[in-house]
Each structure stands twice: as C-alpha cells, then as structure tokens.
C-alpha cells in the first residue's frame, strides 16, 4: 500500500542544508505518529530526469510504487532549458505498509529548473544523494544525443543509466547508449531489455535439453515480428533488435558494421518485420528460429493464457511455457534495480543492436 502524505510537502529554498533539515523534520514529526512504527530505508538513489509536467507526474507515481519493492531516495528533476529562469524544490515521503504493520518510508525530492538555471541541477543532485548508496539515473523519453555533454555531466555520479529505448527515434540513440557502456563506468539499463526477460527465458528453455544445445550452431535464420503503430518509428523495433542481438551475442555470431551476420557455417539471416496493431506497441509478438535441417522453433505470446510458449518441429518433449510478467513501468524499474551488477549480457547485445539497427533504419 502506498501512502503519500501531502502534509509532508513543503516548499523550501534550493539550499541543500534546508532540504536535509526538512527531511529530518519529516522523520522526527512522524516518529511517534500513529500506531505503526515508521522505518526509513533506502537501497538506491534514483534520479529521474523529465522534461514536462506530465513526465514529472509519471515519474513520481512510478517511483512511489517502485519504492515499495526497492526502497530508495527519489530525486525527480524537471528540466526546461527553454523555460523561465527559475529553480525550486520540494520534498515528500512515500510510505508503504510491510509485514508486521511497519511503515517503510522513502524520500522523494523534486527539483524544477528552467532557463540557464538548469546548469545548477547536477551539483544540487550530487549534494542530495545518500552517501554510499548506488545511483540510478532514469532518463524519461528520448535521449538528447545532440547534447551529449549535458547528458554526461548529469551522469557523472551515476552507477546506472536507465532508459526506455522504445522512445528512441534514431540509431544514434543506441550508439550513445553503447558509448556510455564502453567509455564510462555507468552501466546502461533499458526497460525494453527488461520487457524481453520472458522472451529470453522461454527461448533459453528451448535449448536447455543437452541434445538441443548443439542446435545453437545450426541456426540459419532469426525472424522477429514487432507490434507497431507506425510504418517507420525506430523505437518500435528496438525490442526486436535487442532480442536478435542477444541471440547473436550469446551464440557467437559475428556482425559487421553494416549489420551482416555470419556464423560457423555461413551467413545468418536476421529479419525484422512490423505488424500494425494498437496494443503492446513496440513489443515483440512473434519470433522464429530456423535451423539448417529445415526445422523451426517458434515462440509466441498466448495473451489469453498470459504465457509465452515455444515449440520446436519434431520435438517429443512438451512445449516450453513461461509466465508473462507484468510490463508496468514501475515493475520494470524494480527489475532493473534488483540487480546491482553490470548487465554484461545487455552490453554485449547492445553493441550488436547498434550494428543491426542500420539495417532496420535503412529498411
């Protein structure tokens, strides 16, 4: 249960010591309040970068829900370079009841900056981070790859950069994310990659039996179909790209700069198709892996049953079935924050996706 207490909200000047003092006041004023003991907890600092009121409200609601599973100090930035030169901040607490009737609360600090005042954001954020706790930077919307220096300055303290590549409008965004992975200590994370978790799980199941593992080297074609609302928006194809790139990376296919792939026995055909539909836009809806003997493994979502299933021609074993997981943004964020290490598999897939992207963008 989420309890947001508006009484906690108070305007403060953007003065770090004043913010810290107000935070302390929140905890002091609630120490003996009510019948439930109040516990303060944080495993992460999560900084959300937004550029509109709507995004800011969305980030606040999402992180409030996510903090029930991963306690965190949330810092939500609304940055508007074209807006009035102003900077303001306020605080609130997100409280959740956990077993034993305890209330666990995490802080939320909001910062709004416009005009040239946006340059004050990075040092302010730095000062407000809880020491020794990792920092995740959640960038809402498309990455501003034309302002790489600005992104880098904000990312300076970040251990993790979380994006949702479904919003990317060009392969340059994937390149930027790939460069973050290659040239900084910030580990990239993508909500689209989290959405793929169940697709990866059910695909892996196909190759769990020892006799199926040898078929990995016999893959000749990977065909992935995405649900799309347009004929050309790049972000709608990225989940499919990441899926194919993951197979390629893990099996050991070589993908050149032009996006051409080769395996042990020759060229591997990676095919990406769009299927127009109004729901689950950007998501993979079907995947097919063809082997050199002509057999095919197909993976599909069974929406009615809430599962993904995989079948392979001629296999006697039962079909592989994986439960479809929730695709709510707050749950994707929780899955991102649940792992503290760098996701090396994603980094490998990302590098290949950047190359395969050229084919998709060109097509």
């Amino acid at each position: 249960m989420t309890i947001t207490n508006p009484a906690f909200e108070s305007d403060v000047r953007v003065d770090v010591s004043a913010i810290e003092k107000s935070l302390a006041e929140i905890w002091r004023s609630n120490k003996d309040d009510g019948e439930h003991a109040l516990t303060r907890a944080a495993l992460w600092n999560v900084v959300a970068h937004t550029s509109s009121r709507e995004q800011q409200a969305h980030a606040s609601e999402t992180l409030s829900k996510a903090s029930a599973a991963v306690p965190q100090r949330s810092i939500i930035i609304r940055s508007d370079p074209a807006g009035r030169p102003e900077i303001a901040s306020w605080i609130s607490a997100n409280c959740h009841l956990v077993s034993g009737g305890k209330q666990v609360c995490s802080e939320e600090i909001s910062i709004v900056a416009g005009g040239d005042r946006i340059h004050r954001i990075p040092p302010l954020v730095n000062a407000l981070l809880i020491p020794d706790m990792p920092v995740a930077f959640w960038w809402l919307g498309d990455l501003p790859n034309e302002h790489e220096a600005y992104v880098e300055s904000l990312l300076d303290p970040a251990d993790r950069l979380i994006v949702d590549s479904v919003h990317f409008d060009s392969p340059a965004d994937l390149d930027l994310l790939s460069r973050v992975a290659e040239t900084t200590t910030t580990a990239p994370g993508d909500l689209n990659w989290m959405r793929l978790g169940e697709w990866r799980a059910v695909t892996a199941m196909i190759f769990d039996p020892p006799h199926m593992r040898s078929r990995l080297s016999a893959i000749r074609r990977v065909r992935v179909i995405s649900a799309t609302a347009t004929d050309s928006f790049f972000g709608e194809m990225i989940e499919a790209l990441l899926y194919a790139s993951w197979i390629s990376a893990q099996v050991g296919h070589q993908v050149d700069a032009g996006g051409n792939a080769r395996g042990l026995a020759g060229t591997i055909d990676y095919a990406f198709e769009r299927r127009r539909q109004s729901s689950e836009v950007g998501g993979v809806v079907f995947a097919e892996i063809s082997f050199e003997d002509g057999s095919v493994a197909s993976i599909a979502r069974d929406r009615e049953r809430g599962v993904l299933t995989a079948n392979v021609d001629g296999m006697v074993t039962p079909p592989c079935v994986a439960r479809a997981k929730s695709q709510r943004i707050d749950e994707l964020i929780v899955r991102q924050l649940s792992r503290t290490d760098r996701d090396v598999v994603f980094v490998k897939a990302l590098a290949i996706a950047s190359r395969l992207a050229k084919r998709v963008a060109a097509g």
Partner: protein, 520 residues
C-alpha cells in the same frame, strides 16, 4: 569478417541462460514422491514444486509422480494437488495458465511400498515418461515416509533395477530422505548402512529444511562476504552466543511421534546443531558441497563431550504444564492426544556447550529449544565482550552495555546490532540503540520456501545444503550420552507453564555464569 566463436556442439551449458534469473537449469527428470497422499506432500512438496513452476524455474519436461496406497487416477491426484496449492503455495492464488501446464507434469501410481509389483508398474510409468517427456532416465526418489519404510523402498527400487550407479556414467538417480535421520547413533548408522547398499553417498540428499531458509544461508554471506565481521568472530571479542528455537505451538497431532523423540531429537540434533555449525565453522575453501560440509563436521567434532557420569550437569530438560500462549489456554503436554499422562519426554531443553578449538576455546554457546513458549522465533544472538576500559565508571548515569549482534532466522527475518549511544543533552548519559536490517523492509516480497530451494538443488545435484552422513553421525555421537543419561533418570523433567520461556532451572543454568537469556 574473420573468426567466429567456438563450435557449440559440445556445450556443457546453455549460453542463452547467461544473465537470466536462473543461470543453471537442471535437466528434466522424474521426481517420484513416496507418500504422495501424506501431509508433507500436500503442504510442502507439491506447493513448492508449483511455485518453482510459477517462477519458471522447473525445466521443461520435469515430471512428478505421486506414489501411495490410495486409489487415485492422475486427474484425481491433480485435483487434490491443486487444492493443496490453493491453500499452501507461496504464489497464490494459483495461476490457471501455470497450473494447466504444471498439472500436465503430474502423474500418480497407486501401490504399497512393500509390493514388488507396484514397483514394476511404477517403472513402466517412468519409462513412458522418458519417451513422452524427455526425462532421459533421470530419477529423483523423495521418501516422504517414516524412516522405517526406507529399507524396504530402497531394497525394492534396487531389485527392480530402478537405481542407476553414478559410476556407470548413465543418467542420475538421487534419493531424498527426511529427518529424523535415526533415533540415536546406532539407528542412524543402520539407516546410513541401508542407504549405501542401494545408493552411493553422493546420491543421498538428507533434507534439513532449515538449511533451505534464506536467513540460514545468509549466515554464510554475513560472515564471509563482509570484511568487518570475521575479525571479531572469535573468543577474543565474543563473550558468548545464544541460540533460541522457540515454538508457540504444542505437539498438535504428533503426540505419538514426539513421545519417542522429544525436543532434543526433534530440533537440537538437527536444526539447532546446523545453526551452531554455520556460526562456528571456519571459512570453507569454496561454497561447494564438500568444502562447506567438511567445515561443519569439524565444528561438530569439536563439541566438548558431556562429562562422563555427570552428563546433564550443563543441560536442562523441561516439559510444559497448563498455561496460556498468545492469550489462549494451553493444556499441559501430558494431556495432549497420544501422550502418556506420566510422560517424561522433554518439550524444552537448554544446554551450555563448548566448541573446543582455537577460535572458540571457552566461549559458551547457550542453546535452547522448546514448545509452548511465548512466541515462535528462531534467533541467534552474539554477545560481544564489553569495552576493555570503563572510562565512564565515575559517571553514574552511564550504564555501558555489551554489544549484541542478533540474527533473526524467523519470523521477521533480519539482523540487528545493539550498541550504546550518548543521549543528547548537557550531561553524559548513555542508552542502548539498535541498528536494524529487515529483509521485508529492504527487499520486500516473500522469500522462497525452504523446500523450493532444496528441491531445485537436488535436481541440480548440488548437496551443499544437505546433511552428509558424517554430520548426522557425529551429531548423534555427541548427543547420545546426554540422551541416555536422561532416559536413565527416573525424575520427571522440570515443568514450566505453557506460555513462559521455560523452566526456572534454565534461567539458573545461564545465571550461574553471570549472564541471562536474551528476550528474543
């Protein structure tokens, strides 16, 4: 384009598993549950297997065959198991899509443990599953039956050729057995002897469900993944350690079993000594089955023997009398169903024990376990020595108290550290404060049930979290003299009212050393 990755023809692992929640996936096998109509199957095993399926942790084709006397069809068995999952599974309500798939993996074979023909039918069913479900001859036999059936089952499995010798290199056969692992050293040795006539030791998985608990496994993480604890984890800094396994319930319907066991055999010989081993062991060279178990056995071997002829000198046994627990009236043990009205069986035991080795020389470990205590709690409290020099001694307002690191195994799992702090104000006054870590607060969600973890480990063939033969026998060898002395003593145990923390003699046991039991 130049080189490509190595051929995948001989892959030992599935590369697509890298980075997924479950990186290691067992090969599909047939898990046969002997005693499939029993309580353990319905309350723990099938709900645990369903939860594993729900979380996508069972391999495709994993097959579960119930074997018991009642005449069920596959469908009737599936229906009964669904009801169990609705009541007891961690992941509730039951997800229809997951259940539908899971139910297809459930089968039932009717038979008596002593009937050779029933094993023929079972074997036919197993072979059929190998053909239709890809289980490849891999077998796990779960003996969810009283230990007296173990010799018969294991003999008939062997006679029907249903056990594959791992030395032959074929598909694996494993057997899971439940506690009690014997009644004393002699019976434990006999059980183990019977086991190895059909199975090799590495095929035998002895379940102590405490080892499947997240918090118990966290003991090793706490000690060996944090640099700050291990330097203090020895006689130089630790004054004593208290172990408490308290249950608020009585013996319920287990009166006849408990009459022959008592709390010492039921809890101390297994669960509590496992906790002692994990707290006292040296760092293993690897987190693998034999290195971990080697170190645990060394602790058990270091347990100081009870003084001959004076075995109960540092031990107390108790039995609950009429009282009340959690606001409800509770009848005395002797009034429980299937309990002798003059029973001498202990429902409470406390001991002061020592691990005689370099690290723990003369550090007392106070252990206690009991039924009908005020609440259900399992807790380990490490009491540190006081600061070496009492610099505040002239200030009466300063009452320095030793630090206590408390590890709560269940419920409300977590770790707390008690230390002194100055009370704000002009004078120097101190008060104990607590730093707390709670699993629920930091990680949220429900941790997996112990049986989920242990079943999965068996499928993977990893016996790190299972008791080895020498662990079991060493524990019995240490405890037997005390149990024999108690058996020979005509006096009844010390009585304690239900709902209290045990008999007064238990308080005296620790108070004579100038210490007292911590209230967990």
């Amino acid at each position: 384009m130049s080189s490509v990755a190595a051929p995948t023809q001989e892959l030992a692992t599935n590369p697509l598993r890298e980075g997924l929640d479950q990186e290691r996936v067992p090969d599909a096998s047939c898990l046969v549950i002997f005693g499939a109509s029993g309580d353990l199957t319905q309350r723990k095993l099938i709900p645990a297997l369903y939860s594993l399926a729900h979380d996508g942790l069972l391999p495709t084709g994993q097959t579960i065959i119930g074997f018991a006397r009642p005449d069920y069809t596959d469908d009737a068995f599936r229906m009964a198991m669904r009801e169990s999952c609705e009541k007891y599974a961690r992941t509730r309500p039951v997800d229809n899509a997951v259940w539908e798939n899971f139910a297809q993996s459930l089968f039932y074979v009717q038979g008596d443990f002593t009937d050779g023909q029933a094993y023929v039918r079972l074997n036919q069913r197993l072979r059929e599953c190998d053909r239709t479900r890809g289980t490849g001859g891999r077998r796990i036999y779960y003996l969810a039956v009283p230990p007296q059936h173990f010799p018969t089952i294991s003999k008939l499995l062997g006679a029907e050729g249903m056990v594959n010798d791992p030395e032959s290199g074929g598909p694996f056969t494993r057997v899971i057995i439940e506690k009690p692992f014997g009644h004393d050293l002699q019976s434990a040795k006999e059980l183990n002897r019977v086991a190895v006539t059909t199975f090799r030791e590495r095929q035998v998985f002895r379940i102590d469900h405490y080892l499947g608990k997240e918090t118990v496994q966290n003991l090793l993480v706490l000690r060996f993944s944090n640099g700050i604890f291990e330097p203090f984890w020895n006689r130089q800094y630790i004054d004593h350690i208290q172990f408490t396994v308290a249950e608020s319930i009585g013996v319920e319907k287990r009166g006849s079993y408990f009459e022959t066991a008592g709390i010492t055999r039921d809890i101390i010989q297994n669960h509590l000594l496992q906790l002692v081993s994990l707290v006292a062991m040296e760092p293993p060279v690897a987190f693998e089955a034999d290195p971990v178990r080697d170190e645990k056995v060394k602790v058990l071997r270091g347990l100081r023997e009870f003084p001959r002829g004076r075995e109960p000198e540092n031990a107390v046994r108790g039995q609950y009398s009429d009282g009340s627990v959690l606001g409800e009236k509770a009848a005395a043990y002797r009034k429980e169903e299937n309990v002798n009205p003059e029973s001498k069986t202990e429902t409470y035991a406390a001991m002061k024990i020592f691990v005689d080795n370099w690290r723990w020389a003369d550090v007392p470990f106070y252990i206690r376990a009991g039924k009908r205590l005020p609440k259900r709690v399992t807790d380990i409290a490490i009491h540190f020595r006081p600061a070496p020099y009492p610099m505040w001694r002239r200030l009466p307002s300063v009452n320095v108290q030793p630090n206590v690191l408390a590890i709560r195994i269940q419920p409300d799992e977590g770790i707390s550290l008690k230390f002194d702090s100055k009370v704000p104000g002009p004078s120097v006054r101190t008060a104990p404060v607590q730093m707390e870590f709670r699993y629920a607060t930091s990680f949220g969600g429900e941790p997996p049930e112990a049986y989920e973890r242990l079943l999965l480990e068996t499928m993977l063939g990893d016996s790190t979290l299972f008791a080895r033969r020498d662990e079991v026998e060493t524990a019995w060898a240490w405890l037997d003299p005390l149990l024999n002395a108690w058996a020979a003593d005509s006096r009844p145990p010390d009585f304690y009212p239900a709902g209290t923390w045990g008999p007064e003699s238990a308080d005296r046991l620790i108070e004579k050393d100038g210490r007292k039991w911590r209230r967990p």
